[in-house]
Amino acid sequence: MIVNYLESLIILSAILSLLTMGLNVRWGWAGEFDLAYYAIVAFGAYFGGVLQLPHSHEPTGLGWILGLNLPFVVGLLGGAVIGGVTSLLVGAFALKSLRGDYLSIATVAFALVTWAFLSQLPGLFNGFNGVYGMQQPFADVFKNLDAQTYALILFAVCVVILVIVYVFLEMMYKSPFGRTLRAIREDEFASAAFGRDVYRCKLKAYIIGGVVAGIGGVLFANYLGQWNPYTWAPIETFLLYGAIFIGGQGNSRGVIIGSVILLVLIPEVTRFMPQVPGKPDLFPALRSMASAVLVILVLRYRPQGLLPEVHPRDAGDRAPAPTAQTAGSAANV
């Protein structure tokens, strides 16, 4: 029982950490305060859902598109692709000419429009009812297992995907590509002056973030078994930002810690509080306030986050300095 509960916490932590890591590529690496993120997550979740679900049996004009009854892995890849493609479309417009606050305004508008659009359009993703009936990953393959053993499979799937994404992102972060993104985050004019195509680099980061968002969205939707306008809202992007602030902008490990603290531990710790008679909303409200206060305290007293961005060290010369012939000048200070 308690083991099941802990497993479910780890599964949820893995999924939410995945989502936060994708946003961290956009904000922590490239410095774009993007607010369309959860809409991209939703596109991945919806699309992954309709790839896996059978044909919709809702009355005409309702229901969802596709319904191809494909395996989970295809849904996962489809979600990743759709996350990347929607990010390409949004980013190609938004990043071309908008910076800073203006990019945030444009992207939050995109997220709100998307939410309204998907809620109101009954024939695309079944409007407010959403898509439902997704199986948990590989439930069809292991259908003879009891629930407790199956939970281990789900647990393994989420953790393995988290580790794979983490490893890929770390390789990118430490590469010249990652360094270029950080330079753009610090000063895009200087980056352009040193030959970097700022727009293209930002767009690449935006798409990488979108692919991770799509993967996380599919996992989340399969875990919940459904995805509809009540399970996601554009505002949730801010919770992911909160997790990044707490964990440490730019540091994937920190971002995982921040996600676990803000998105899993705080809600779970307060979940078992006794109900105050006559005030059923008191504890949920206090929970939101506790999250907000935590974010503010971290920003005030430890603005770099619990695990700040890694400060790289140069090994220095092994041998005494050679008189190099390299281009340069002699500033004999």
């Binding site: 890929f168 390789m171 990118m172 430490k174 590469s175 010249p176 590509f177 990652g178 360094r179 270029t180 950080r182 330079a183 985050r185 610090e186 000063d187 004019f189 200087a190 980056s191 352009a192 002056a193 040193f194 030959g195 970097r196 195509d197 700022v198 680099c201 690449k204 990488i208 961005e309 400060h311 790289p312 060290r313 140069d314 090994a315 220095g316 010369d317 300095a321 050679p322 190099a324 390299t326 281009a327 340069g328 000048s329 002699a330 500033a331 004999n332 200070v333």
Partner: protein, 261 residues
């Protein structure tokens, strides 16, 4: 004296207006290979706009800018830089939350190294290239007296050190030509001699340089030739010694300074 040298940068009729403001009008001048050209003029003469136009940070309304035999007007900034023409800014623009060493590694020529797929599939060759860059960067940082600070975040450096880092980055990239926009701005006067050394050092490696600066003695000691701008266009060019006696220059610039004193 310069006529036998080849021209690396050529401006012909370059014009840029912002609404009714004629920032640059019909600007013509040449820069010869390997020379240090001073660009002077009173505030509002259009010097910085000219730098923006040459470096691709703004697009000219009309005119031709030819760099190394190729017309580059209207190119975007990163393309101009990749072609070998790099600029600096009036305020030092370091990458603040990158270390000094990382600033140098970003400035190094990339030759396609910052492709995403290479970060996953080409790691050994990236590591080897980075090690070569590091060795070169350490050497340059030592020359600019920044070696001990190489693990420091660039944002923590003093104003003068940020300027020296800017020169070190330019040396790291080693372009054909560099445009220096007021490199003495925000620099302690005692460091001016170091900046002068740095400019001469870059020039010694064969780089052509345009230097914008208000400090005329500094221009005098750093530059071969000088172009004087006023009201958006070039009004004179030549050796500083000759320009001092030019009526137009005195009216436009030196005279103004003199009457201000």
């Amino acid at each position: 004296m310069s006529d036998d040298r080849s021209v690396i940068l050529e401006l012909r009729g370059v014009t840029k207006h912002f609404g009714g403001v004629r920032a640059v009008t019909d600007l013509d001048f040449d820069v010869y290979d390997h020379e240090v050209l001073g660009l002077i003029g009173p505030n509002g003469a259009g010097k910085s706009t000219a730098i923006d136009l040459i470096s691709g940070f703004r697009e000219p309304d009309s005119g031709v800018i030819k760099f190394d035999g190729e017309e580059i007007q209207g190119w975007r900034a990163h393309r101009v830089a990749a072609r070998g023409l790099v600029r600096t800014f009036q305020t030092a623009r370091e990458w603040a939350r990158l270390t000094v060493m990382d600033n140098m590694l970003v400035a190094a020529p990339q030759e396609g190294r910052d492709k995403i797929w290479k970060s996953v599939f080409s790691r050994p060759s990236l590591r080897a290239a980075e090690e070569r860059d590091r060795i070169r960067a350490r050497d340059l940082l030592r020359r600019f007296d920044l070696y001990a600070l190489r693990d420091e975040y660039a944002g923590n450096l003093s104003g003068g050190q940020k300027r020296l880092l800017e020169f070190a980055r330019v040396a790291m990239l080693s372009p054909r030509m560099v445009l220096l926009d007021e490199p003495l701005a925000g620099v302690n006067p005692r460091l001016q001699v170091n900046i002068l050394e740095a400019i001469k050092g870059l020039n010694d490696t064969g780089m052509a340089i345009i230097l914008i600066e208000h400090n005329l003695p500094f221009i005098d000691s750093a530059c071969d030739r000088v172009v004087v701008m006023a009201e958006g266009t070039d009004i004179a060019s030549g050796l500083m010694a000759d320009l001092r006696s030019s009526r137009a220059v005195i009216d436009a610039y030196l005279g103004e300074v003199a009457t201000n004193v």
